[in-house]
């Protein structure tokens, strides 16, 4: 035995180790394969030995060979042996080999399960570490299933080194064994807040990766990530988080709004380019997901563009590349901002690096205007000439065409120039895009009538010089152009100067070498030309010329008759016979020109791609009906044995007809569209009204700009596009001069003008007139086309413009939140810095009206409010950082609110992705809802306690009345001081949890008149805010135990079915536990009035309270919803109520109660209902509305703020806004229409209102007045 060991170690000494192997391979360069095969033989011998050291050495060498590409799978078992060595040095070699060589189908993996489990639980952290690392490479579904639990345990290992690795490998485990996600997720989430930054970062990595695939399920983690983002200093982690947010924002635009600020801060502050780049990218994503045009966002866009400019200007090519890449993302949504950097981008076109040039090219697309198109294209043409590689040149070519043809040739002022460019492009060698050029030529020639003369001349030259195009084998792609040239020359042959010459060119024998489809076009158009030639010679008394033409045709056509291409052959023989017949007639001196011309009479008009679809189905025609009765099933079966080919076909095709259902039809339509899109004869987009130049009478007769023929042409007959640039310049200058003259005249007439400015400024887009009147032909539509789907809306329809302007806001706001079917958007807290709120209002309300029964959604909404409040509070606390410690209010980002609710829900949500639970969504809403509110709340207008609290708005500190120990006016000064003490004590005790606590602890101070003195309006206006945040909740009542907030009565009414018998109003109240004790058995009761009643469950008496369906642990808030029934809604209402509850301590429990007053304003009976301007006008005309008006003095706010306020607080939606005048609309739950016309001048706002219920109107106006008197 001992001898064996000695022998083994001696053997080892002579064995090659890895270094020797590497050296050996280097020394045997010529016969590497041979050398390696001997090495492999040696290794095989080594592996047979018992000595583990020898084996490990062999495996180590194998790993190297595997890297070189040799298959070492035969040694898999030996690798497992080495893995199970007890010595770490060997073990790691085994694991390394396994991680490199094993894959899912390696069968020995199943032998490793127990070994790996043992290693995972090894006391040596490196054993565990190496096992984890290895596992991450070769984990299989079986391993994942068997080891998931072990790894999960490791996630809570004491050593961060292990935790970190365990967390990361969980991602792989999730992938292989998805069932593990659910149980592991809470722990994973916990790791986001691990004290060790490495573990934290690992958790972020994993969740980011998971979330990128299924962003929706991880929206609820947004608050947590937000917190991490603002607190982390690790750029790697930040990048990940920011990337994650980039994936989340499209799902939740409100998140985007919230992100803008911290992201811009980061952009300003960071020095790390990678982080900067990521921030910019995410900001772009956010802005894309949000609607554009919000004023404060243009600043963000500007910032991004500026930063990107810095990147692009950098000498580092990498930054330049990335800058351009990011820029192209902005271009899609904000082309204007990018346009200003045209200089820079053009500069990048000259870059040495092709990748950078390509990126710059992408950007150019959005940079062109009428003014600079020629200049840019000229530059690109230079590049085309210089470009060495064909790929880059092809790219340039397509870009040139893209740029020119975009938006229906919007930027082309001179089509002659464009045709010249196209012709010049045909000279490119080896391009694959002949087809593209051809389709452009066809499109332009067909649709721009005025250009046909020129185009035909050019095409004729092209045909004449066809040998230049076809001569080279390399140029195959380009001969497609001849297809277009031949067709244009034939179809518009009346414009040809010398049709005979062209005809001759088209019938050259060389043509037969062209592809079949081109020959076919040649033949067909030769016939057209023939007709034209005949016509031209009509006047000649001598018929010889005409006969010569016929002879030419007869001579040349047989070449095509022999063509292998069926199409060519068919057309050629047909035309040949025709010409022969014509010749016969000619010889008899019969006048046949008319007849020949008639063959090709009539003009082909472009047809709109949708034209076919729009053909109305004639009455009585059932397209699905059978034309013939289908053969019965049995019959066809009987026939089967004898069935001949054709019969079989019918049999198969018929049943298919029956299966044509909606889907199939749609699919076919799609296919057809596709086909049409690819067909050059279909004209794709219809030009919008602005773009179509007015058709002047007799377009054909308008003289075309004279070409300066003294300019030497490069190729005989081929135009140089450059000359057009010069010509265009001159023309524009002339235009400008003329305009100046005119303007001077005008000025002379007017004398008092600001014309000078006009004069000196460079010509604007509109100043550039097209070179000649151009008529871009619109596509034809069938008569009495069906007015079909929305996208077919007539671009001339004036309503369309309105649609965008007004409903833009509404639609966008409405669509986005609703897109997520999981939740209902909330009206009240989508606080509004801008006009957005009315839209939000609208959508929330409409959603509500649509689904009045959905309880869960209501709850969500309420929770949102709840969160909103907390958020505001926390923000306020943030501001008062000095008092941070006393306040314990640091849950700035809502992490805390999440805790109780989310965590419980999380697990279920993760595993069942599509149905994320309502609570979660609502929690998120909660966090997000007040995103745009910059800080603490201010006016709450339709508040219950408003009346009482309004006179002393500073009496308490808004939504955080509890958190201001130094607030001298606070009515609760004493209590807060005492509570401060308490808190300090608590802080010592629970330092860890401090962050999570936000509640204050007032004790033993009950207010006798909670409803009166305590209920406070969130009315601290002492802090200046740039934009007025708005909120609809108010503090209803609070005492030392509990705080009650009420969202202004939020109505749900069954408008469709139940208008007559009054409606329901829903009140959401947030209960927040402020003490350290448990609150339970809460009962909510209200004294009913004649008009309004609290809805109680059946069987309970009119004075019974309603049990609040939850208990409140310390520091937790929750929301409950109460339904009231209203008889009349024309008057505001006040209801008194009481909340009773039990405070449970460890040792005792006491009964407590809290009084409050509910205030139902008339506004709260209004529902934001969107209204279109035409409907609105009808309503006003109807005449059954009563009028009333009110004037507000000294309102000092921008008009859109004013509107936003009305929208927000009073549930109106803007119907139409023109300058400082706007019409607004709302509707009560009982169906009263309320229309407002708001006008502002100086500081006076006048509101004219109409409503079919004067009392209601009066009250609403009073309330509006009050809203503005408070600000």
């Amino acid at each position: 035995m001992a001898l064996k060991i000695v022998k083994g170690s001696i053997d080892r000494m002579f064995d090659k180790n890895l270094q020797d192997l590497v050296r050996g391979i280097r020394n045997h360069k010529e016969e590497e394969a041979k050398y390696i095969s001997t090495c492999i033989d040696e290794i095989k011998q080594e592996l047979k030995q018992d000595n583990i050291a020898v084996k490990a050495n062999a495996v180590c060498k194998l790993t190297y060979l595997q890297m070189l590409g040799y298959d070492v799978s035969w040694a898999a078992f030996n690798i497992v042996e080495v893995m199970s060595s007890s010595k770490f040095t060997y073990k790691r070699i085994g694991y390394l080999a396994a991680s490199q060589c094993f894959h899912e189908s390696t069968d020995v993996i199943m032998l490793t399960t127990n070994q790996i489990r043992k290693d995972l639980s090894s006391p040596n952290q490196y054993d565990t570490g190496v096992a984890l690392t290895g596992l991450s490479c070769f984990v299989t579904p079986d391993l994942a299933r068997d080891l998931a639990n072990d790894i999960m345990t490791l996630m809570s290992h004491t050593k961060p080194y292990i935790r970190k690795k365990a967390v990361l490998i969980m991602y792989k485990v999730f992938l292989k064994y998805p069932e593990s996600l659910r149980p592991a997720f809470p722990r994973l989430k916990e790791k986001l807040e691990d004290p060790d930054p490495g573990v934290q970062s690992a958790a972020v990595n994993v969740i980011c990766e998971l979330a990128r695939r299924n962003p929706k399920n991880y929206l609820s983690l947004a608050p947590l990530f937000f917190k991490l983002m603002t607190s982390s200093t690790n750029n790697w982690v930040l990048i990940k988080i920011i990337k994650l947010f980039g994936a989340l924002t499209p799902l939740e635009p409100r998140l985007g709004k919230k992100l803008i600020e911290p992201l811009t801060n980061l952009i300003h502050s960071t020095s790390a380019m990678s982080l900067l780049y990521e921030c910019v990218n995410t900001v772009i994503a956010v802005l894309i997901s949000l609607s554009s045009g919000m004023p404060n966002h243009s600043a963000s866009i500007q910032l991004c563009v500026q930063k990107l400019r810095i990147l692009i200007e950098d000498s580092d090519q990498n930054l330049k590349y990335l800058g351009l890449l990011a820029m192209s993302k902005i271009l899609k949504t904000h082309p204007k901002s990018v346009q200003s950097h045209k200089d820079l981008i053009l500069q990048c076109l000259d870059d040495k690096d092709e990748s950078i040039r390509l990126r710059a090219l992408d950007l150019l697309y959005g940079m062109v205007s009428k003014k600079n198109l020629m200049e840019i294209v000229k530059k690109l043409m230079l590049h085309v000439d210089k470009a060495e590689g064909t790929t880059y040149r092809d790219e340039l070519l397509t870009k040139i065409i893209d740029i020119c043809s975009q938006s229906n040739y919007q930027y082309i002022t001179n089509f002659e120039w464009y045709i010249s460019i196209l012709v010049e492009l045909t000279r490119l060698e080896g391009t694959r895009h002949g087809h593209l050029i051809a389709s452009q030529m066809l499109d332009v020639a067909i649709r721009v009538k005025a250009i046909r003369v020129f185009a035909v001349a050019q095409m004729a030259t092209l045909l004449d010089n066809a040998h230049l195009l076809t001569g080279n084998v390399q140029r195959k792609g380009i001969c497609e152009v001849l297809y277009a040239a031949a067709w244009i020359c034939g179809e518009f042959s009346e414009h040809l100067e010398n049709p005979m010459q062209t005809l001759e060119a088209m019938l050259r024998p060389k043509v037969a070498t062209l592809p079949g489809h081109i020959q076919a076009v040649y033949v067909q158009n030769a016939a057209k030309l023939f007709a034209t030639v005949l016509k031209n010679q009509e006047g000649n008394t001598d018929g010889t010329a005409a006969q010569e033409t016929s002879t030419l045709m007869i001579e040349r056509l047989p070449l095509f008759v022999q063509s292998a291409n069926l199409e060519v052959q068919e057309r050629a023989s047909c035309i040949l016979q025709l010409v022969k017949y014509i010749q016969k007639l000619q010889q008899k001196d019969v006048e046949i020109t008319e007849e020949v011309i008639a063959l090709f009479a009539g003009e082909l008009n472009p047809v709109a791609p949708k034209a076919q679809k729009k053909v109305p189905v004639p009455e009585g025609l059932d397209l699905d009906a059978w034309i013939n009765e289908p053969p019965s099933e049995s019959e066809s079966e009987d026939e089967q044995p004898k069935a001949i080919f054709s019969k079989e076909e019918t049999k198969y095709s018929r049943p298919r007809h029956t299966e044509v259902d909606e889907k199939e039809l749609a699919k076919r339509r799609e296919v057809r569209k596709q086909e049409q899109a690819n067909n050059p004869f279909y004209i794709k987009s219809s030009p919008s009204s602005q773009k179509v130049y007015q058709e002047a009478p007799g377009v054909e007769h308008i003289p075309v700009v004279q070409i300066d023929l003294t300019v030497p042409l490069k190729v005989p007959g081929l135009p140089m596009s450059d000359q057009y640039v010069k010509l265009e310049e001159e023309r524009r200058q002339k235009d400008r001069a003329e305009k100046k003259k005119k303007e001077k005249k005008k000025r002379k007439e007017k004398r008092s003008g600001r014309g000078r400015k006009h004069d000196s400024c460079p010509e604007s887009e509109e100043d550039i007139t097209p070179a000649h009147m151009v008529d871009i032909v619109t596509e034809e539509m069938p008569e009495n086309a069906l007015p079909s789907d929305d996208d077919d809306k007539d671009p001339n329809d004036p309503h369309k413009a309105l649609d965008i302007d007004l409903d833009n806001l509404m639609e966008m706001a409405a669509r986005r939140p609703l897109a997520d079917s999981e939740k209902l958007p909330v009206r009240s807290h989508r606080a509004a810095e801008t006009l957005k709120s009315p839209a939000d209002d609208g959508d929330a309300e409409s959603a509500v009206t649509q689904e009045p029964k959905k309880k869960s959604s209501k709850e969500k909404r309420e929770k949102k409010k709840d969160k909103d409040k907390d958020r505001k509070k926390s923000k306020e606390e943030k501001k008062k950082k000095k008092h941070k410690h006393e306040e314990k209010g640091e849950d700035l980002l809502g992490g805390q609110e999440d805790e109780p609710v989310v965590q419980s829900e999380e697990t279920s949500e993760v595993a069942a992705p599509p149905t994320s639970t309502t609570a979660e969504v609502s929690d998120l809403d909660f966090w997000l809802s007040n995103a745009p509110v910059p800080s603490n709340t201010q006016e709450a207008v339709t508040v219950a306690a408003a009346a009482e609290a309004a006179p002393v708005p500073e009496a308490a500190s808004g939504t955080a009345p509890d958190s201001e120990p130094d607030e001298p006016k606070d009515t609760e000064t004493e209590e807060t001081k005492s509570s401060k003490h308490k808190k300090k004590k608590q802080k010592k005790e629970k330092e860890e949890k401090e962050k999570k606590k936000k509640k204050k602890h007032h004790h033993h101070h009950r207010h006798s008149d909670a409803g009166g003195e305590e209920s406070v309006q969130n009315g601290t206006v002492e802090e200046e805010e740039p934009l007025p945040p708005m909120s609809n909740y108010c503090l209803l009542a609070e005492n030392s135990y509990i705080k009650m907030m009420m969202e202004d009565a939020d109505q749900v009414s069954d408008i469709q079915g139940n208008l007559q018998d009054g409606s329901q109003v829903v009140v959401s109240a947030i209960f927040e536990n402020k003490c350290e004790s448990f609150l339970k058995s809460m009962e909510f009761n209200v004294l009913d009035s004649l008009n309004s009643k609290l809805q109680r469950p059946e069987g309970s008496g009119p004075h019974d309270g309603l049990t609040v369906p939850f208990q409140l642990p310390p520091g937790v808030s929750n929301e409950a919803r109460f339904v009231f029934t209203m008889q009349s809604i024309v008057m505001p209402q006040k209801l008194k109520g009481t909340l009773t509850f039990i405070v449970k301590n460890e040792d005792s429990s006491t009964h407590e109660k809290l009084d409050f007053k509910l205030h139902f304003t008339c506004t709260s009976y209004l529902i934001t209902t969107p209204c279109y301007s035409d409907a609105f006008a009808k309503l006003l005309e109807s005449g059954d509305l009563k009028c009333s008006s009110v004037k507000l003095e000294g309102v000092n706010m921008p008009f859109h703020h004013l509107l936003a306020r009305i929208c927000f607080h009073h549930h109106f939606s803007v119907v139409e806004r023109i300058d400082s005048c706007a019409s607004m609309y709302s509707r009560s739950i009982q169906g009263h229409h309320v229309c407002l016309l708001v006008k502002t001048s100086a500081q006076t706002v006048s509101i004219d209102a109409k409503c079919d219920e004067p009392t209601l109107l009066g009250n609403v106006l009073d309330e509006i007045k009050q809203t503005f008197s408070q600000c």
Binding site: L68, T89, Y161, I169, M273, L319
Partner: protein, 144 residues
Amino acid sequence: MIKFMLMVNRQGQTRLSRYYQPVELSRRAMLEADVVRCCLSRKKDQCSFVEYKDFKLVYRQYAALYIVVGVTDSENELSVYELVHNFVEVLDKYFSRVSELDIMFNLDRVHIILDEMIQNGHVVETNKSRILTPLTALDKMADG
């Protein structure tokens, strides 16, 4: 995420390869050759990011050695670019002035370093001393 990391020299010989997404052995050779060709053909004044098929390559050249990282589209190119440098710095620290030979002869150690830095295609650690801790512990173990 990171799909793979390669170290190749000018001659196109692979010095280190690590795949974070399974790739068949036969395909690896082709992929490596293609990727290397792609990067070698680029000049110094060209940027270090290449769009390659459906993903991106981030490469960096150190003397005759190229480090090429294949990343998905969603990865931040610059951060990967930095990561590569970080990796080389760690190697430099461990081998004190690392050379191609160091990497060839100590492939297993380089792998350990790499595994400490990247796992699952994600960056785990960037702190040099923390990355090297397991390795130095191992070296001590081997010595002792």
